[in-house]
Amino acid sequence: MTVPLAVTTPGAPGGLAAQLLIIFLAAALTDNILLTRFLGMCSFLAISRQMKTSLGLGVAVAFVTTVTAAINYLVHRYITAPLGVEFLDLIVFIVVIAAFVQILEMAVERFSPALYFALGIFLPLITVNCAILGVSLFMLNKQGYGLWQALVYGAGNGVGWLLAILLMAGIRQKLKEDKIPAGLRGAPITLIISGIIALGFIGFSGMVKF
């Protein structure tokens, strides 16, 4: 069986590249997983206090989202769908993500101790980041995705999450928490800011059409 890498009409020059670019931008900006679906919120709230940790977690999430979206696409297409057990997708995806993160952790620890210590607790934390599972599940709803599209869709979402947490970290570093009423400090003000950023992101939907 050959993997259909793309379902664009053959002959359309630059068709695949253009389509992938649109998928990427749509996933990262207009349909930002964090700002429009509010997935991956708990680590977003907890970690976005500092730029450095935000970057570490964001990069890790982006990487894992990209790869797991592709793996889960293959699992769905060649295992669960042909067997008619699509209802297992959810649980299988969870297991795949957990296993992948485990292996990734071992590999990073072995080959790049510096990165391993920099990421610290973030790698294991990612297993329970719902944004990653969300991306794999939403991908199934997209019509006509091939492996490339799945990969780019995953990357777009991951980068979108990274972008959102970096924006928030930037804002929170500027924010003087002591000027905020006590009841709004911490998570509440972060949620309000997220809402405002999300509104701003709607502007992108005028630029990028699905």
């Binding site: 008619g84 057990v85 297991v95 296993a99 292996i103 071992m106 590999a107």
Partner: protein, 367 residues
């Protein structure tokens, strides 16, 4: 029906497949080869399998580092100085290290993974720690939740320890406990009888090791422990000594008092034993005997919540209040405390509030 079977089959197959991948990955990715551990500037060196924790690597070579939590990074007892090769300090170690220790390269050996050659320092006295095979000689109920367990040593046949020190009892895999764990217990034995090791063990509900002690240990059961550890012991001085400990915290004092009797130690000594009600008191006869054998010793039990049926005309109240009432001024005295961290911190507060210098307060936290 077929869908059901296919679903179960698929799920199992995927899980098994992923587990296999993980096992293979673990085999190849976590293989750090052999690593050399240089100890105390080269006075010893070990060749160990990489990938395990430093604590376990040393344990495998029969060098026993104290660890009360079994390597979970919560007890902070397994500290060692790692001079090179330990990598950065992990977040799990952070809360246990002071600024000074961090500068000196002190690490929790259970959290340091052996990934490459290491250069470490181990205090000389830890080399005298041995592993002991013993068998239970007697088990005696002291109260409804505390037992005195007496072990007869098999090999080596004798243990040399300083009264106040503790050992680590191995609780083997049993029931829901998948792997052997070690728990610290202070020795209550008379140091003049090195062929036995005695402990006072209080049941912690749902506790792994204490449940095993209370349900599985019988006279004749073989057990393994290692030790001795710890620097809780009597310190020189002439002033009055205040012992404070309730429950199983009495253990090290049994041993210390026995040694004092042996030596005819004349220092004025008061032992405050905090308990809730009469049913929590134990070894009262033994304490009476110490009172008559020692030149200047008194045992002062205090009840914080006596039952209405308890006939009690001794001290009442929280142990901190009782001690506070007895000693308005603690300047030239020494205090020895044993028990839960909360109790110890509260007592230190009271004692230093009454002028006791911190260097006169010695304690062993049971956690």
């Amino acid at each position: 029906m077929t869908t059901f079977l296919i679903a179960v089959g698929t799920l199992c197959a995927i899980c098994v497949g992923l587990s296999l991948v993980l096992v293979v990955a673990d085999r190849y990715l976590s293989d750090y080869g052999r690593c050399r551990i240089t100890i105390n500037g080269g006075s010893r060196s070990l060749d160990v399998r990489g990938g395990q924790s430093l604590l376990n690597a040393l344990g495998g070579e029969k060098i026993f580092i104290p660890s009360a939590c079994g390597g979970r990074g919560t007890c902070g007892l397994c500290k060692l100085r790692v001079r090179s090769g330990g990598g950065p300090v992990l977040p799990t170690e952070d809360p246990h290290l002071t600024a000074d220790e961090r500068r000196d390269g002190v690490r929790l050996s259970c959290q340091v993974k052996v990934r490459n050659d290491l250069d470490i320092e181990i205090p000389e006295h830890l080399f005298s720690v041995r592993e002991f095979a013993a068998s239970v000689e007697t088990m005696e109920d002291l109260t409804y939740d505390t037992k005195r367990v007496r072990l007869a040593l098999v090999a080596p046949p004798e243990i040399a320890f300083v009264p106040g020190q503790y050992i680590q009892l191995q609780c083997p895999a049993y029931g829901d406990n998948p792997e052997p764990v070690y728990r610290a217990y202070s020795l209550s034995s008379d140091p003049a009888d090195p062929r036995h090791a005695e402990m006072l063990i209080r049941l912690v509900p749902k506790g792994i090791c204490t449940t095993w002690v209370f349900t599985r240990l019988k006279p004749g059961t073989p057990v393994t422990f290692n030790g001795p550890y710890g620097d809780f012991r009597l310190h020189d001085g002439t002033g009055e000594m205040i012992f404070i400990a309730g429950g199983s915290g009495m253990a090290p004092f049994c041993s210390i008092l026995a040694a004092m009797r042996q030596a005819g130690n004349p220092r004025p000594t008061r032992y405050f034993f905090g308990a809730k009600a009469v049913r929590d008191l134990f070894l009262l006869d033994e304490m009476k005997r110490f009172e008559s054998d020692l030149p200047d010793f008194r045992f002062i039990p205090a009840l914080s919540a006596p039952d209405p049926t308890d006939l009690w005309n001794g001290e009442r109240g929280l142990i901190t209040d009782v001690v506070g009432r007895h000693y308005p001024d603690c300047r030239d005295k020494q205090a020895y405390l044993c028990g839960s961290p909360g109790m110890i911190d509260a007592c230190i507060n009271v004692l230093s509030g009454r002028g006791m210098p911190p260097e006169n307060i010695f304690y062993d936290k049971f956690a």
